[in-house]
């Protein structure tokens, strides 16, 4: 419990830090008054606008105002869509969640069994194949893999749609592209965790009791090996979101990543801020949840703390 309280306090500190960076980003965008009024505005109009927006106040007052608004979900209006930046983000979020969830599912469905089987036969041909593919999977840039997938399955074989969202077929290529790196990560960690557990005393005891290999693996080893893998998967969420930015751009997937990239091209800064801020918050909160799950499934941590 004390462990979780401490983690929660840390989370608040981190979130404050995140808000400072995003606020700094806002300030870097230059004088919003010039953007709103144009270069030709009179000095009085500019001064009036500055006072109205609170820009004549000290920087820490401005930060406090920014923070207060951010807490209420008010990041201002999108300059392009004339709509609340947050609502724009929320509209696009389901598409990104769908894509990342599909990728995560693929990564677990392929990475876990492959990693576990490789660990059961270390240094076999299959093991070598898994380790080699994992290294390859981690070295291919996501946008490149997506492009190659479009060329092969879209342009030449004409098997799958290469853009848009709606049908299951449209989900396949982007999800597989996004999953490739994660499959490699999950397989590597599943293999490592499994090997480590297989060397532990309780596994040897289970074997000595005369349990079948299948029961030792499924009942004893696998359950314990899954714990670190769960944590790694949760920690991959940030990587997945970063990957989604590029994948969504390549496949014209209407999620928050593409929204952010388009907002950056059109200098729609409120939208940029909201995407950076909210994804960072999501990431931090998910990490905390991963820690909570970790504590629940592994009582040893509670004792150690």
């Amino acid at each position: 419990m004390r462990f979780l309280l401490r983690r929660f306090a840390q989370l608040l500190v981190v979130l404050l830090g995140v808000s400072v960076v995003v606020f700094g980003l806002v300030r870097l965008t230059g004088d919003p008054v010039v953007i709103l009024l144009g270069e030709a505005a009179t000095a009085e109009a500019v001064a009036e606008m500055r006072a109205e927006l609170g820009l004549d106040r000290p920087i820490y007052v401005q930060y406090a105002r920014f923070l207060g608004r951010a807490l209420r979900g008010d990041f201002g209006l999108s300059l392009r869509y004339r709509q609340s930046a947050l609502s724009l983000f929320v509209e696009r979020l389901p598409a990104t969640l769908e894509l990342t969830a599909a990728a995560l599912l693929l990564a677990l469905a392929i990475g876990l069994p492959v990693g576990v089987v490789a660990a059961l036969r270390p240094n076999s041909g299959f093991d070598g194949l898994v380790r080699g593919s994992a290294l390859v999977g981690q070295a291919i840039p996501g946008f490149y893999l997506g492009l190659v997938a479009i060329i092969v399955f879209g342009a030449h074989l004409k098997l799958l749609p290469t853009g848009g969202r709606g049908t299951l077929a449209q989900l396949i290529l982007p999800a597989a592209t996004l999953a490739a790196y994660q499959i490699a990560v999950v397989a590597r960690f599943a293999r490592g965790a499994m090997l480590e557990v297989l060397g532990e005393d309780f596994v040897r005891t289970a074997r000595a009791k005369g349990l079948t290999r299948a029961r030792v693996v499924a009942g004893h080893a696998l359950r314990n090996a899954l714990i670190p893998v769960v944590t790694i998967v949760a920690l991959q969420f940030g990587t997945l979101l970063s990957g989604a930015v590029v994948t969504e751009t390549v496949f014209s997937w209407p999620g928050v990543g593409r929204l952010a990239v388009q907002a950056i091209y059109t200098r729609d800064f409120p939208v940029v801020q909201v995407t950076v801020m909210v994804t960072a918050v999501l990431f931090v909160v998910i990490n905390l949840l991963a820690d909570v799950v970790y504590v629940i499934v592994d009582p040893r941590i509670r004792v150690a703390d």
Binding site: V13, V14, V21, L28
Partner: protein, 303 residues
């Protein structure tokens, strides 16, 4: 004092280093990595005047020529040409130096900041440690590519800007790993002994702590170069990195995007460059880890 210590250190260090080199060369993956990496680096540093063609020269009679080994290919353009008739091999060789330069400079910057922060956190402990580690958490909370392109969108792009924007956020990885290693080193008896003997703090840090951080630093740097190369190519692919007409592997892939029907090779071949370099660096990093850090070796046998 140091006169009696120094010769013994040297006597031990030389055979150990030789043994490390030999062990590294026995690692098949690591050697494969070197074999992949060295020609790419040589190609990237090849003088512009000696390139097969000037990188910006358009041969308008030879647009979208496929690589030489394919039907319709010509040996004048071994890797084919793009939609403007520019030689892909020459552009890759020329563009590689920018990608590598950005990645290397960014990593240097990241190491400078991160190692300083990590040593301070690990050596001082207490409040300094808490502050540094929370800052690491803040840094790692951002989806990196969003942060990078947001900053570039605001401040504009240029080669120095790219180096700063890619390098500064990478400090967090260094700080975290170096802090951990510093804790281990500081707890070691020889540091305690040096401290008990009344060694000055700066001497303690530069003479006893920093040299012992070389191993984690070298290993991490190999992986970080690979990671930043990937990030640079992604940023350039999105049009916010190295600007045309200067080619980088990322911009070349982006250029080829609009021609995947007529010339799939225009974007796929530069991508192979990134992939091979990153793969080579990962191989070398794994090999270095095995050789330099025997404890990690036992762990990696499992990973």
């Amino acid at each position: 004092m140091s006169a009696t210590v120094l010769p013994r250190q040297v006597a031990v260090a030389v055979p150990r280093r030789r043994r490390a080199v030999r062990a590294f060369l026995r690692d098949r993956m690591a050697v494969a990595g070197l074999v992949l990496l060295v020609p790419v680096v040589v190609a990237a540093l090849w003088p512009v005047a000696w390139l097969p063609h000037p990188p910006a020269w358009s041969d308008l009679d030879a647009r979208l020529v496929p690589p030489a080994l394919l039907a319709g290919g010509r040996w004048a353009h071994p890797l084919g040409t793009d939609n403007l008739g520019r030689d892909i091999l020459s552009r890759m060789m020329y563009g590689g130096r920018f990608s590598l330069f950005v990645a290397l400079s960014a990593v240097t910057l990241a190491a400078l900041i991160g190692v300083t922060a990590g040593v301070v956190a690990g050596y001082r402990g207490g409040l300094a440690d808490v502050i540094v580690m929370r800052l690491v958490d803040v840094q790692l909370a951002f989806p990196l590519i969003l942060l990078v392109i947001a900053i570039i969108a605001v401040l504009g792009t240029s080669l120095p800007m790219l180096i700063v924007v890619l390098g500064v956020p990478a400090w967090a990885h260094y700080a975290r790993i170096i802090r951990g290693s510093t804790l281990v080193v500081v707890a070691a008896q020889y540091v305690e002994a040096a401290r008990a003997l009344g060694g000055r703090e700066s001497r303690l840090i530069f003479r006893h702590v920093l040299p012992n951080l070389a191993t984690p630093m070298v290993i991490l740097t190999t992986f970080e170069i690979a990671r930043l190369l990937l990030l640079e190519s992604a940023v350039s692919f999105l049009g916010l990195g190295i600007q045309p007409p200067t080619p980088s592997w990322g911009t070349m892939i982006a250029d080829g995007r609009n021609h995947i029907y007529e010339g799939w090779w225009v974007s796929t071949i530069p991508g192979m460059g990134i992939f091979l370099v990153v793969l080579a660096l990962n191989f070398i990093g794994d090999g270095l880890r095995d050789v330099l850090d025997p404890r990690a070796h036992a762990r990696r046998a499992m990973l």
